[in-house]
Symmetry: C2
Subunit: 298 residues, 2 copies
């Protein structure tokens, strides 16, 4: 036995964990412990600060409910979710449309609607159309590809926030036509503040950040034999387009609402965006979705 110091504790912890059965869990826990200890040493963390950290993480865990995932929110504002997304994109054998954050508001079981349907129950703002094609990377159409979209209302709230857990609105699932075309009506979603009434919001305020996400439309697209694509389209004229609190915006995902002679619904201004799906490599899981309403925090 030796007297442990702030470096040898790390060796001892790794030694105790050396017998972990699952090699991937061992790899992840080893790295987590090394980085956690290195963090504490770098900032020379005091017992008082350690206890504040414990209290903060406890509060984050206790803020989670069946319809609110505060740890995902924390991961988002710290940029971890965006890093995981980028790593996921990078691992692909071939890269389709860039991905973006799933966010905490995806729900399974949204209604499948005919192409051209309006996804907002009672639109009170200008109707627009969003359209384009879903193809593979070579430009070959993917008929029957499923595109699931969800967005905030023109007031900036998701259905879970504005209508509660039992109703769905501002979301819909569509099947691409034989030539890969998809199109639907909606209204321009409003950008919004992340939930600021929990411990993550407290942190964001202390960091003097605005806590806003620019206006965007979430998309989850799947087609047989292709990598599932989780992404979002960002409206370029939003004042927060360059400072998304959760680091989801990429230049390639920025769109504009335009007068567009090619629009499939004449008379409505349109957003045109074509999605490309990468082929799925053997053994590669494309599935990244998680329905927070099914990931109950009990």
């Amino acid at each position: 036995m030796r007297d442990l110091d702030e470096f040898t504790v790390t060796d001892e912890a790794l030694a105790q964990m050396a017998g972990t059965e699952n090699p991937r869990l061992k790899q992840i826990a080893d790295a987590a412990v090394r980085h956690l200890h290195a963090f504490a040493r770098e900032v020379d963390l005091t017992p008082e600060e350690w206890l504040q950290g414990i209290s903060f993480l406890t509060a984050v865990g206790q803020a989670c409910t069946p319809i609110r995932q505060e740890f995902i929110l924390l991961s988002d504002v710290l940029g971890l979710s965006a890093v995981v997304n980028a790593l996921h994109d990078k691992k692909a054998k071939e890269l389709g449309t860039q991905s973006s954050l799933l966010g905490p508001f995806f729900r399974e079981g949204a209604p499948e609607l005919p192409l051209g349907s309006q996804i907002v129950d009672k639109p009170t703002a200008e109707e627009i159309v969003i359209y384009g094609r879903i193809t593979d990377n070579a430009g070959t159409p993917l008929p029957g590809a499923l595109i699931q979209v969800w967005q905030t209302s023109e007031r900036g709230g998701y259905d879970l926030q504005e209508r509660g857990p039992d109703e769905m609105d501002m979301r819909g699932n569509f099947r691409a036509a034989a030539d890969g075309t998809y199109y639907f009506r909606t209204v321009r979603p409003l950008g919004y503040s992340i939930p600021m009434d929990g411990p993550t919001g407290d942190l964001v305020r202390k960091q003097k950040r605005h806590g806003m996400r620019p206006s965007h439309m979430h998309c989850l697209i799947g087609a047989e034999g292709h990598r599932e694509l989780v992404t979002a389209l960002y409206f370029g004229d939003d004042p927060y387009i360059g400072s998304d609190t959760v680091f989801g915006v990429s230049q390639s995902l920025v769109v504009e609402i335009k007068d567009d002679p090619a629009s499939p619904i004449p008379g409505l201004r349109a957003v045109h965006y074509d999605f490309r799906l990468a082929r799925q490599a053997p053994g590669e899981s494309g599935r990244v979705g998680a329905d927070p309403t099914k990931m109950a925090a009990q």
Copy 2:
């Protein structure tokens, strides 16, 4: 705006946090984000694994109650608490007795008892005496120094576990005599398993660790003008003395129960341990205690 990758997300996150008002919070959050992102990049964390991590941390937070702090337990088994302790010792201008973990079972308001009292309500095992002197580093006695001790029963449970939150047992506070002497009766505490019925226990099982702490007696010692000492004495013949699950044991804190002619209570076997307290540097907080029953997880 640029397309973010797994490295540039880190830059963006640090840039958004640059306006943090409190410089220490800024320093800690910056380091946390850099290490968190580096961890994810090092193990190439997948979206599925990220979600498992989110679920794990959520479960840890939700396992916290007014009398159970699962995040402290997690910090303990990952060795973080021991690192923070070691850093705290290292910062001292002068070093007294080595410190050890406070653990989650300290409680304020234990009874102050006359020297020589038995701290166990109804002892059912061999009575022993623990004694010694409390001095400064030069060996000068610290009369009136307060030593608070708490331990498990001979069955391995703390009062909070065996008797509930409303009763105190197996703990007591003593004042050192004019020559710095302290002594009290007790029974040998039994080593025990950390609580294994929560998410931290699940992790420890997957890591094929035994989850045991060797037999020990907690001590929190304070004297005017001196650095508060949080430590513990470890009984050297415990089978887990070399593999404490929470990395609290140091060679200098290991004791033995002996026949001892110098014992202040003739006829009882004794543990002899002298504590040395370092002087408190100006502006230095010695206080590291935290009463979990007052740190309610709401």
